[in-house]
């Protein structure tokens, strides 16, 4: 089947060996070498030049394959393929790795019968695709392990290949099997077509310019028509509303646009300059603009269908933050499977071209800025280089094969610096929990601990008390000495005396709600605790508690200061007595930055501030203080700081706020001016009819 001719360096080596023995032989060898070389050189030189062949392939080290006219071609592209009907999953996930393995065929030199290369040249972009695959974690050099195969033909541009011969060559690939699990890249389909013209059998096509008839959902991948742009600088000021700078637009579109721009000065039209220099665009009045930089001058850019559905100006506009308005009926947008284009562009019917001005004017400033930022971000993340495009393609393939690891919508579409609330506790209904678990962190204050346990045990909504014995050197008292209560009491011993032990998601906690309480906070009444739990049920993703603090800007030190005075606003609720969802314990343990953990451990302080930062950073919400209670240490003390009167302690806490802010890159704490009281609090109403009557003061 295969006709492989070898010549070149291998034959030199053999002859060279002999040369060291015979001088004459050596001379002959030399002559032969030169002659052979010259012949090869001449042959190559004489070949007809193709359109954009700038460099010649040489057959020096690469295998050469001649495609004979009678070779069997691969089957036609199977238009009915879907992931389930054409993709073979058995090839994936071997050796227990939940990840695709991609094999790249070695390059060979394929020639048609007339000795013409079937792929005219290797393009920079295809070479990047292959290099990126090889560098990625999905690459495998072994075809036996591979799940996805990339054929060695540069099919990016239809004009770069001999269609018939490449179709035949595909069939010669050793693992082709009618294209099963093969991936063919294409960015430039033939004129007036929506997919590469190639007999690709059951192979997947990663192509640009699909329409919704040729695109096989769950199987093909829609790529952008990549544009090799450089030097992007997004402009803030955009004097123009809509820009049409595309050149290859059909004349009937053009007429409509010209008409529109005549009656609306907001639509700027730029054309090809008379010298056909593509790095410039010209206005009718003769002004010359540098392209693509001129795209940065406009708020919206028109993208129209040409001979192909998808146009490179799409990416150029996005790179300059110019919002694309796409007129291309039935076009499948790039990576449409994962990218929500509604967030970044407007897709308008071709028939509605006339409505474009009205549309652009309608978009509010806040929305426009949001979309423009989304464009720039999408561009930089998925489209800015062939490397990015290749990696995205691989990720999409990977999540098709291993959908259990698929990224969510927001992972694909939401900018990381976009501070929307993504609370992990997002059920909207009030929590239906009926009870909570009290977690008491204690070191050795056994007496006050026991008092607290007894007080807690009578709270109706408490179901269990979990004591975290944080003293590794001393054992907790014998079980007989503990107070007898009618609620479950469990003790866990920690290995180290760490404040973060208070926030560990202990298996023993079986309720949603956790009451974190210090071992010396025994003044809270049953009603106060019951009410606190009730408030938590209404705000299950917040920290709900009694001791509150705030942060204020200190004009002297020019930094944030921790404030424990009784103020009109608060931004933190201390976990010395606070309700919160157990999931925060999990997040505190697993996702708080390591730097913060280290700081908390080394200073033995600020774990509560860290918890407030964590919750507010994720939810964008403030904690809620319940009831007037403000004094905690002992009712008769007048000191305002209950945990420590130590001035130094306060300094450290101020430092924590500034340090954590630095680590999070923002100050997530939010201030509020309200606290929660029972509905009938302080009302002159019979006490026995009040559900929470014993609400203490201060």
């Amino acid at each position: 089947m295969k006709m492989i001719t070898r010549y070149g360096l291998n034959s030199f080596r053999k002859l060279n060996f002999k040369a060291s023995f015979h001088v004459t032989g050596a001379i002959i060898l030399l002559a032969v070498t030169v002659v052979v070389f010259l012949i090869v050189y001449e042959i190559n030189e004489l070949k007809p030049r193709r359109k954009f062949v700038s460099k010649k392939h040489r057959s020096s080290e690469m295998d050469q394959v001649i495609i004979r006219a009678n070779f069997v071609s691969s089957a036609e592209r199977n238009t009915r393929c879907s992931y389930y009907s054409c993709f073979n999953p058995y090839k994936c996930g071997r050796r227990g790795i939940s990840q695709i393995q991609v094999y790249v065929y070695p390059m060979k030199h394929f020639l048609s019968e007339s000795k013409e290369p079937i792929v005219h040249s290797l393009t920079r972009e295809f070479n990047t695709i292959l290099e990126t695959v090889k560098r990625s974690k999905f690459y495998t050099p072994s075809p036996d392990e591979a799940c996805i195969f990339i054929p060695p033909f540069d099919t990016l541009s239809q004009t770069n290949i001999l269609t018939k011969e490449v179709s035949q060559a595909l069939n010669m690939l050793p693992y082709w099997n009618n294209g099963e699990n093969h991936l063919i890249f294409n960015l430039f389909p033939p004129k007036n077509a929506a997919v590469i013209d190639l007999a690709a059998g059951n192979a997947m096509i990663a192509g640009a310019g699909f329409n919704s008839w040729t695109y096989r959902p769950s199987f093909d991948i829609s790529l952008p028509p990549y544009s090799p742009l450089k030097n992007i600088a997004v402009q803030e000021r955009r004097p123009w509303l809509i820009l049409s700078s595309q050149i290859n637009v059909h004349s009937s579109f053009m007429e409509k646009l010209r008409h529109l721009s005549r009656i609306n000065s907001e639509l700027i039209m730029l054309h090809r300059c008379s010298d056909s220099d593509l790095s410039y665009r010209c206005h009718q009045n003769g002004t010359r603009y540098k392209y693509p930089e001129v795209l940065g001058k406009s708020k919206f850019c028109l993208i129209l269908r040409g001979s192909r559905l998808s146009q490179p100006v799409l990416l150029e506009a996005m790179a300059y933050g110019c919002i694309p308005i796409v007129f291309s009926d039935t076009l499948v947008m790039p990576f449409q499977e994962v990218i929500d284009w509604n967030r970044a562009a407007f897709m308008i019917l071709e028939n509605d071209l006339n409505s474009v001005i009205q549309l652009a004017k309608f978009v509010s400033d806040s929305r426009r800025i949001e979309i423009s930022q989304q464009c720039s971000w999408l561009y930089s993340k998925y489209f800015s280089s062939m490397e990015a495009i290749t990696n995205t393609t691989l990720l999409i393939l990977n999540q098709r094969v291993f959908p259990e690891n698929a990224l969510f919508y927001e992972n694909w579409n939401v900018r990381p610096n976009f501070i929307g609330a993504r609370s992990p506790i997002f059920l909207r209904t009030k929590s239906f929990s009926t009870s909570f678990t009290a977690v008491v962190l204690t070191y050795d204050r056994v007496e006050s601990l026991f008092t607290l346990i007894q007080k807690l045990a009578v709270v109706p909504s408490l179901s269990m008390i979990l004591v975290v014995w944080n003293n590794p050197r001393k054992s907790p008292p014998d079980s007989s000495k503990w107070p007898q209560i009618n609620k479950t009491l469990k003790v866990v011993r920690s290995k180290e005396n760490k404040l973060s032990n208070r926030f560990f998601p202990y298996q023993e906690i079986e309720t949603e709600a956790v009451l974190s309480i210090d071992d010396d906070i025994s003044m809270l009444t049953e009603d106060e605790l019951d009410f606190g739990f009730e408030v938590w049920r209404e705000f299950p993703d917040r920290i709900i508690g009694f001791p509150s603090r705030t942060h204020i800007w200190d004009n002297i030190s020019l930094s944030w200061k921790y404030e424990s005075e009784w103020t009109n606003e608060i931004s933190m609720v201390l976990t010395g007595a606070a309700f919160y969802h157990k999931y925060w314990n999990y997040l505190y343990t697993t996702s708080v930055p390591e730097e913060i953990h280290q700081f908390v451990d080394s200073h033995m302080n600020c774990e509560d501030i860290a918890m407030n930062f964590l919750v507010s950073n994720i939810t964008n919400k403030a904690p809620i203080k319940v009831t007037p209670r403000k004094k905690f240490k002992c009712p008769e003390c007048t000191a305002t700081e209950m945990l420590s009167t130590d001035f130094n302690h306060m300094l450290v806490r101020s430092k924590c706020i500034n340090k954590f802010m630095e680590i999070y890159g923002r100050l997530p704490l939010r201030k509020v001016e309200f606290r929660a009281d029972p509905v009938l609090f302080k009302d002159s109403f019979p006490a026995k009819l009040k559900r929470f009557k014993n609400i203490g003061s201060l």
């Binding site: 050596a26 070479n127 544009s227 290859n248 056909s276 929500d340 509605d352 929307g420 001016e673 309200f674």
Partner: protein, 734 residues
């Protein structure tokens, strides 16, 4: 010999040198694809193809387009661009339902199933409905097409003939056809509906990715006959525990067909069963002839099957297997979703319901029928935190889009509406988070702050100013002592008010400018409104997001106004107000009761004095069912109950009561008080009736109770008043 050796050595070196020279000479000129030595920049760019192309004008004009393919594929290839008349939807999105067909004598009256009648009822009662076929965007036929299984008793005959008689059929253009079952035994051809639906869109259950016409057909869930028309049951997840692990990891209990299409998957499920945390029980019993087909496992399976209870399995399992039946979808999918049992889809090629807008990765797991034995391992590999998230999302999706027929139908409409070339978009974040996209109606503006739910989603904060709107029906003349005059003075001192509007619902002439208190820095408008008082109307004058709605005789201090506004800023999606009311279930009357007594909780905040987001005005007037508005109109009452229903229906949260104030009306000696509707016993009974009417129309009781109110931080604390920001509130007595 020595010389010869040396000579040959030199020669060898020479040859080597030449060899190397040639080697490098070639290498320099030559570029070897696939070798690391390739310098990328030296390669040509594929982009030259574009650049050459760019200079040619395309041959195909807009009219023909690349969609010439259309003609050759007929309706199987319909797309919005080719088979839908957008012009019909340019002005509004209205749905026309064909009237009942003339029933032929030989046909039973009940040619329409209960389910389809419910669908039609839901549409007819909604705001989408129009009785005028000429202004409709979408047409719904009165022929029941839900069950197209020829063996089913609900199968309607002669559909093609009936279609012909439809006046606006036009090849099916702009028609939407609902279907739950297609094809029949033994092949269950999913595209076989028994009639040619032409260019009509399908809203179809169990549709496969390859049969679904992208962005044209809509996959809907399979729902049972008993599915509620409106309201719908909430999800079963009441306690949102972490870790979310349950007794069983993965469960399935169901029939298996033993033979025929789709039976292999269920037949091999027993391989996964381990009696411990994976429960896979099947029965062969179904239909009359099951014994005829039974295999050697049937008896054993049937015994095991009886050991487990279906609903207990749903609730005690973290994951529920949803394998294909004869068709791709099954009732099981919605059942698992409601139970918060994360569906593991084992139905290759099924296009999940509404997947055009719903990100199912966040609420379900895909398995591959071809890799059945790997399911266990895959499910085990899912981390606890993800299970926690998935489970919550099942509830969100269930309650937003699936729990009633109304929701399923509305979601279908909203998906179609989103495809229309309008300037408004609802992105995936809105669809996939609460309260969902059904409430995000097209408004007059697309600014980020136009929906109260967007603040969370986009991480933006509401602007800190509000518009006060006072409804005045004053019969006495305006003096400095009039309650409205004092109220205006309080408002004018607020630091956040940016605009004041008085709606003058009175036959009297609007008092001249000088008789009103002076507003130096804020615009003050009096709008004359004839006819009965209409609250929550969209006043063009309102520019702010926040509205403070007030009755003219309300007594409020500036501090109370400012404090409530601060609270509203933290809860912009809720109603924030002063006096509150409560609802309760009256056992004796077997109906809902309404009370204004002082209670330990509340569920309604009166809008005679309350802050709320402007957008609710829009939903109130443009989105609520006309039947509800009619109730308000007829009674000239209850509008505040209705808006509380609306907001709680959307947010699933209670309104918020601030401060101690319980009465806000000025007790007047001039006799105004006695004429006030608040004093009228009929008024109270009317409100009770309203409450029950609204419950019926919503299909459930949306109000949510709260047992807390929000007070200023230092409220009534024994500290110096000078330290307090809102001092006036301290002296207000309830």
């Amino acid at each position: 010999m020595q010389a010869k050796k040396r000579f040959s050595l030199i020669f060898a070196c020479l040859i080597l040198a030449i060899y190397f020279y040639l080697f490098f000479a070639i290498r320099k000129r030559d570029v070897r694809p696939g070798k690391l030595l390739v310098v990328n920049d030296e390669l040509p760019s594929y982009f030259h193809s574009w650049e050459e192309e760019i200079l040619d004008e395309p041959e195909i004009g807009p009219a023909a387009g690349l969609n010439q393919e259309k003609s050759s594929f007929f309706n199987k290839k319909c797309r919005m661009e080719t088979c839908f008349d957008f012009a019909r939807c340019r002005n509004s999105f209205k749905v026309y339902v064909y009237p009942e067909m003339d029933v032929e004598e030989n046909e039973a009256l009940s040619s329409k199933s209960v389910l389809y009648q419910k669908i039609l009822d839901v549409i007819s009662e909604s705001r989408y409905y129009t009785s005028d076929p000429t202004e409709a965007c979408l047409y719904i036929i009165a022929i029941d097409t839900l069950d197209r299984d020829t063996l089913s008793p609900d199968y309607v005959r002669n559909v093609p003939l009936k279609l012909q008689s439809l006046k606006y059929w036009n090849g099916g253009r702009n028609h939407l056809i609902f279907n739950l079952y297609s094809g029949s035994w033994p092949n269950y051809e999913e595209e076989d509906l028994g009639f040619d639906y032409g260019e009509a869109m399908l809203a179809k259950a169990s549709i496969s990715v390859s049969a679904l016409r992208p962005n044209f057909d809509i996959s809907i869930p399979l729902f049972p006959r008993s599915h509620p028309e409106k309201g719908g049951e909430p999800g079963y997840v009441k306690v949102n525990n972490f870790p979310a692990t349950k007794k069983f990891l993965l469960a399935f209990k169901g029939k298996r067909y033993v033979h025929g299409i789709g039976s292999e998957t269920r037949n091999s499920l027993y391989h996964l069963h381990n009696e411990k945390d994976i429960i896979m029980v099947t029965t062969c019993k179904h239909g009359k002839s099951w014994k005829h087909w039974k295999d050697e496992r049937c008896d054993e399976d049937n015994v095991l099957y009886e050991k487990y209870d279906y609903s207990l399995l749903l609730q005690n399992s973290s994951f529920c297997l949803v394998p294909r039946g004869r068709r791709l979808g099954s009732f099981r999918f919605l059942e698992a979703l409601q139970a918060g049992c994360i569906p593991v889809i084992l139905s290759n090629g099924w296009s999940l319901p509404f997947n055009e807008v719903i990100d199912w990765n966040k609420a379900a797991i895909w398995a591959d029928e071809r890799l059945l034995l790997q399911v266990t391992e895959m499910v085990r590999s899912i981390p606890e935190s993800k299970v926690f998230l998935l489970r919550q999302q099942t509830q969100i999706l269930w309650e937003q889009y699936f729990s009633s027929i109304e929701k399923i139908v509305f979601t279908t409409f909203e998906i179609i509406r989103q495809r229309l070339p309008n300037k408004y978009f609802r992105d995936g974040l809105l669809w996939n988070s609460s309260p969902g996209a059904l409430f995000a109606q097209i408004n007059s503006s697309d600014a980020l702050n136009s929906y109260p739910f967007n603040y969370d989603i986009f991480g933006i904060t509401p602007e800190s100013n509000f518009t006060a709107i006072i409804y005045s029906q004053m019969s006495s003349s305006l003096t400095v002592n009039s309650p409205i005059y004092r109220l205006l003075r309080s408002i004018s001192r607020s630091q956040y008010v940016s605009e004041v509007i008085v709606v003058w619902c009175n036959d009297k002439v609007i008092p001249s400018q000088i008789r009103w208190p002076s507003f130096s820095r804020i615009p003050f408008t009096v709008v004359h409104s004839s006819g009965p008082l209409q609250r929550f109307r969209l006043y063009r004058e309102i520019k702010t997001e926040a509205i403070l709605s007030l009755d003219e005789d309300v007594v409020l201090t500036t501090d109370e106004i400012d404090f409530a506004f601060q609270v509203w800023l933290a809860f912009p999606q809720r109603i924030v107000g002063y006096p509150a009311r409560s609802h309760y279930w009256d056992e004796s009357k077997n109906s809902w009761g309404y009370t204004s007594k002082w209670t330990n909780d509340y569920s309604i905040v009166l809008t005679g004095a309350a802050f709320y987001h402007k957008y609710y005005d829009y939903l109130y007037t443009e989105w609520l069912s006309p039947l509800m508005l009619k109730t308000v109109e007829q009674t000239n009452n209850c509008e505040d109950i209705l808006i509380n229903f609306l907001v709680s229906h959307i947010t699933k949260q209670s309104p918020i009561k601030v401060t101690q104030r319980k009465h806000y009306k000025e007790p007047s000696s001039s006799g105004v008080f006695s004429r006030s509707p608040w004093n009228d016993p009929d008024h109270f009974i009317q409100r009770q009736t309203c409450l029950n009417t609204f419950v019926a129309l919503f299909g459930y009781m949306p109000l949510v109770r709260s047992s807390l109110r929000l007070d200023p931080m230092l409220f009534k604390d024994s500290v110096s008043n000078l330290r307090k920001k809102y001092r006036q509130i301290e002296v207000v007595n309830s």
